[in-house]
Assembly symmetry: C2
Homo-oligomer: 84 residues x 2
Amino acid sequence: MHRTFAKPPSKEKAQVAFGAAMRALREARQFTQEGLAERAELHTTYISSVERGERNVSLNNITRIAYALEVLPSELMRCVDPVR
Amino acid sequence: MHRTFAKPPSKEKAQVAFGAAMRALREARQFTQEGLAERAELHTTYISSVERGERNVSLNNITRIAYALEVLPSELMRCVDPVR
């Protein structure tokens, strides 16, 4: 558990990694952006913007998106873990 | 991976769970709020407010806090996973 990390990823990298992971999971589930938006009770334009890495998504929205994608929030967040 | 969840936790519950997990890890590391704030390059008042469950922390700040606490972002986020 107790490791030493160099540095967190840059803001942009974290957002882009999150957006890409979300899109991959959405496509794996065969959900459209509209379908995911409805499941997560968020706007389609917001979902689209997150997938493009433009948003600094909040804890509550990460949680809603994870539930809508039927993954654990911690699983969805693996995309910002350092590569091991 | 593909599970069905009832509902995501309420906003308040997710924020409170995150704050409590962060505080527990900070205390385990024997960091003060000031020390953690410095490591994460965030304000002490912000850290304190997150620990009280008052903030809807962003992806970038979750990542910074995780690195400062020397845990993976995905590990820190386990606190909002449903109880199994």
